[in-house]
C-alpha cells in the first residue's frame, strides 16, 4: 500500500519520458520524410552500383488509342560513372524501322544541367550536337520522354516518403520525387519501390499543371551476376491520350569491355 506513492514519481517520469519520446519521434518523423524517401531511393539506386557497363537490345512497341501498333528496335550501351555527381554515358543505336537503321543518340548525362547529346545520321555520316535542354518531349514518337527511361540518377530528384502499402505480390514504399532539373516536364513523380529487392515497380508522372499524365509499370525483373536487377518489361500508359508504349528488353550483357572510347563523339562514325 505504501509502495504506491513511492511509485508515483517513477510512473510520472515514465509517462513524461514516453511523451517526450513520442514527441521526439514525431519530430524525427517530420524530419525524416525526406530522409526516408531519399534512403529508399538511394537503396534502390545503389543496389545497382558497380555494374561498370552494359549492353541490351530492346523492342519499343507503340500503340495508339485505337490499338494500332508500330515497332522500333534499338540497342542501348551504358557506361556507368561511379561518382553520383556525374551522370552515366549512354549510346542508343536504332536498328528499325529500316529508314533509321544506324541512327544513333549519344548522351553524356549531367545531374542538374542539360546533357551533352549528339545525333548521328548515317546517310550523311553527319554527327550533330543537339540541344538536350528539353528531355520531356516524346522520344521517337513514343510515350516515353528521354528523361523517363535513361539512367535515373539519384541526385536528379528530391524525395519524400509517403507511405507503405501492398503492391501486387510485394509490399512497397511509396516515395514522391520532385525533379531538381528546371526544364523537367514533370512537377512530381510518385514511385513504388518494393521492400524485397528494392526495385521500382510503378511510377506516376504528373505534368506541369500537376495533373496525372502517365503511369509506368515495370516488371519481369531478372537478376544478373547475383547482384544487378533489371526490369525487362516497361509499360507506359498516357492517361490523357490513352496511347501506350511497351519496352521489351532482351537479356542484358555486362562486362562487355565497353569503355570511354566507345562513348566518344568521334566513335559514332564506326556505327555505319
Amino acid at each position: 500500500m505504501n509502495s504506491k506513492p513511492r511509485n508515483k514519481l517513477p510512473e510520472a517520469l515514465l509517462v513524461a519520458a514516453s511523451l517526450l519520446v513520442a514527441a521526439g519521434a514525431a519530430i524525427a518523423d517530420t524530419e525524416s520524410i525526406e530522409e526516408k524517401g531519399f534512403a529508399i531511393a538511394a537503396r534502390s539506386d545503389r543496389s545497382d552500383n558497380g555494374f561498370h557497363n552494359s549492353l541490351v537490345e530492346l523492342k519499343m512497341v507503340l500503340r495508339n488509342a485505337a490499338g494500332r501498333e508500330s515497332t522500333r528496335s534499338l540497342a542501348i550501351k551504358t557506361l556507368e560513372k561511379p561518382n553520383e555527381e556525374v551522370g552515366d554515358k549512354s549510346l542508343i543505336v536504332f536498328d528499325s524501322p529500316a529508314d533509321i537503321d544506324g541512327t544513333a543518340l549519344l548522351s553524356h548525362a549531367h545531374i542538374l544541367e542539360a546533357d551533352n547529346q549528339w545525333l548521328y545520321l548515317p546517310a550523311l555520316k553527319r554527327t550533330k550536337r543537339i540541344s538536350s535542354v528539353n528531355k520531356s518531349g516524346p522520344f521517337v514518337g513514343s510515350e516515353f520522354a528521354f528523361e523517363d527511361f535513361t539512367a535515373l540518377e539519384l541526385n536528379k530528384f528530391t524525395y519524400k516518403y509517403l507511405r507503405s502499402e501492398p503492391c501486387g505480390e510485394f509490399t512497397c514504399d511509396v516515395v514522391e520525387r520532385t525533379p531538381r532539373y528546371e526544364h523537367s516536364g514533370y512537377t512530381k513523380q510518385v514511385s513504388w519501390v518494393d521492400q524485397s529487392i528494392f526495385q521500382v515497380r510503378r511510377v506516376e508522372f504528373y505534368d506541369r499543371r500537376g495533373d496525372l499524365l502517365k503511369v509506368l509499370t515495370l516488371g519481369d525483373y531478372r537478376q544478373y551476376q547475383d547482384r544487378y536487377w533489371r526490369a525487362h518489361k516497361l509499360s507506359m500508359v498516357n492517361m490523357q491520350t490513352k496511347k501506350e508504349t511497351d519496352l521489351v528488353y532482351s537479356d542484358y550483357t555486362f562486362g562487355t569491355g565497353l569503355d570511354e572510347g566507345d562513348f566518344n563523339k568521334s566513335a559514332l562514325r564506326r556505327i555505319h
Partner: protein
C-alpha cells in the same frame, strides 16, 4: 571454337577477358547466353569467324520531279523527270573489323547523265580502343551549318542527285583517326580524285551551256591521280564542339572554260591549299554555328564563312511539336577567276517543324536571299514514314527570275516539286 552467345549478340565486343572471367564464375549463365544468342537468330556457322555478323539493308526509291515551267535552254526536255534509285548496303563484321559495300544506281527518264552508278562505300574498317583505320571508298562529313556545307571538303559532290550538295561520291581514302582525351586527330591520304557530276544537255538545273564531264582540265599533271591529303583536329569542350583542318590537293569545286566551238563548258580543277574551321556552341535551346575557310589556289586567296544560329521552341502550345528557327549569314570573298558560287553575300532564314509523332513527320523550309540584289531561293522539304518500311518525302524548290548575267538565272525556269517514295529493307 564458337564464341558464347553474348559475344555474338554483342559485336563489336572489344575485350574478351572480363567476359571469360565471368564465364568461369557462372558456367550456367554462359550456356544460357549461348542459347539466347542462337534463339535470337544469330547463328554460328563458321567456326573460324565465330565473332562475325552479316548485315544487309538499303533502299529502293522512286522519284517524280515535276517542273512548273518550260525549260530555258536549248536541248532541255520539256518533261517531268522520273527516276528510280537503288542502294543496297552490305556490312560484314568480324572481330573488331568491318567490310562495307554500298553501291548506288539511279535510272533517270530525262537525263542520261543523271542515270549513274557509284560506289558510295567500299571499305575496310578496323577499330582499336583509341583509334580506327578506314581503307577504301568512304564518306566523311564535316560541318555544322544548314544552308551551306562550306567546310565539307573530302568528298566530291554528286550534283546530279540534288543541288543541295548533300549527296557525295565515294572517295578513295586511307583514314586514320586517333581518339585521345585531348581531342581527335584525323589523318587522310586521298589517292585519286572524283570528278563532280553535272546534268547532261537534256537535264534541268544546269548551266546555260552543259558541262562536258568527259574532258576535264587539271592543273596537276597527275590529273585525277593526284594524291591529296588532309589533317583535322576536333574536340568537345563542354558546350563547344570545335574542328579545324588543313587540306591540300585538287579542289572539289571546278571553275569553267568554254570548249573550242563554244558549245560546252569544260570543268577546270585546280590544286588548292585550304584551312577550315567549324565551331558550334550549344547552350540550352540555342545552337550557335560558325564555319569558315581560307583557300589559296583559285584566283586570289580568299575567305568564306557561314555563321548563324538555330533556336528551338519545344512542345509549342502544349503539343508534341518542336519548332526550330534558323538564321545564317553566308559570305564568300572569292574573285571571278575562282569557281562560281551562288551565295556570296546572302541571308538564310528557315524553320524546322518536328512533329515527334510515330511517323517522324518533319518539315524544313527556308529562303536564301541576297539583300543587295533581288536573288531569292526558296526551299521546302517534308518527310514522313508511311509504314515500317516505306517513307515519303516532298521537296519544293523555287528560284527567283533573274537577268541572264546572274548565276541564279540558270535555274530561273527550273522550279520543281519532287515527290519520293522509298522502300527501306
Amino acid at each position: 571454337m564458337c564464341a558464347d552467345g553474348s559475344e555474338l549478340l554483342n559485336s563489336p565486343a572489344r575485350t574478351k577477358t572480363p567476359l571469360m572471367h565471368e564465364a568461369m564464375k557462372h558456367p550456367i549463365t554462359t550456356v544460357a547466353r549461348y542459347l539466347i544468342g542462337t534463339s535470337l537468330g544469330v547463328t554460328c556457322v563458321m567456326p573460324v569467324l565465330a565473332d562475325s555478323e552479316m548485315n544487309f539493308s538499303g533502299f529502293l526509291a522512286g522519284e517524280a520531279r515535276l517542273f512548273t515551267q518550260t525549260p530555258q535552254f536549248s536541248g532541255q526536255l520539256d518533261r517531268n523527270e522520273y527516276s528510280l534509285a537503288l542502294q543496297p548496303e552490305l556490312r560484314y563484321e568480324f572481330n573488331d573489323q568491318r567490310v562495307t559495300l554500298v553501291p548506288f544506281y539511279r535510272e533517270d527518264s530525262l537525263d542520261e547523265e543523271r542515270s549513274h552508278f557509284d560506289l558510295r562505300e567500299f571499305n575496310w574498317r578496323k577499330a582499336g580502343d583509341d583509334w580506327d583505320l578506314l581503307v577504301g571508298l568512304g564518306r566523311v562529313f564535316w560541318g555544322v551549318t544548314e544552308s551551306r556545307h562550306l567546310v565539307d571538303v573530302i568528298n566530291q559532290t554528286d550534283l546530279v542527285e540534288n543541288i543541295d550538295q548533300e549527296d557525295k561520291l565515294g572517295q578513295p581514302m586511307v583514314n586514320l583517326a586517333l581518339l585521345q582525351d585531348w581531342g581527335t586527330v584525323g589523318l587522310f591520304v586521298l589517292p585519286g580524285f572524283r570528278e563532280r557530276t553535272f546534268p547532261g544537255v537534256r537535264g534541268r538545273l544546269r548551266t546555260p551551256l552543259p558541262v562536258d564531264t568527259d574532258n576535264p582540265v587539271y592543273e596537276s599533271s597527275a590529273e585525277d591521280s593526284h594524291v591529296d591529303a588532309a589533317v583535322r583536329y576536333s574536340h568537345v569542350i563542354d558546350d563547344w564542339d570545335v574542328g579545324i583542318y588543313y587540306f591540300y590537293g585538287t579542289g572539289r569545286e571546278p571553275s569553267f572554260i568554254g570548249n573550242g566551238d563554244g558549245t560546252r563548258l569544260l570543268p577546270v580543277y585546280s590544286i588548292i591549299n585550304q584551312v577550315g574551321t567549324d565551331i558550334q556552341w550549344t547552350h540550352e535551346a540555342w545552337l550557335w554555328k560558325f564555319e569558315g575557310i581560307v583557300r589559296e589556289g583559285q584566283g586570289e586567296t580568299f575567305g568564306a564563312l557561314v555563321a548563324g544560329f538555330e533556336y528551338t521552341f519545344y512542345q509549342i502550345a502544349e503539343t508534341a511539336l518542336d519548332l526550330g528557327i534558323l538564321a545564317e549569314y553566308l559570305h564568300d570573298g572569292r574573285d571571278e577567276t575562282a569557281p562560281p558560287v551562288l551565295f556570296d553575300d546572302d541571308i538564310f532564314l528557315g524553320a524546322r517543324l518536328a512533329f515527334n509523332d510515330t511517323a517522324d513527320t518533319a518539315v524544313l523550309g527556308g529562303i536564301i536571299f541576297d539583300p543587295s540584289t533581288t536573288e531569292k531561293f526558296f526551299s521546302l522539304e517534308a518527310e514522313r514514314r508511311l509504314t515500317d518500311h516505306i517513307t515519303t518525302e516532298l521537296e519544293i524548290r523555287v528560284f527567283s527570275d533573274e537577268p541572264a548575267d546572274r548565276l541564279l538565272s540558270s535555274f530561273s525556269r527550273d522550279d520543281y516539286i519532287q515527290l519520293t517514295l522509298a522502300y527501306y529493307f
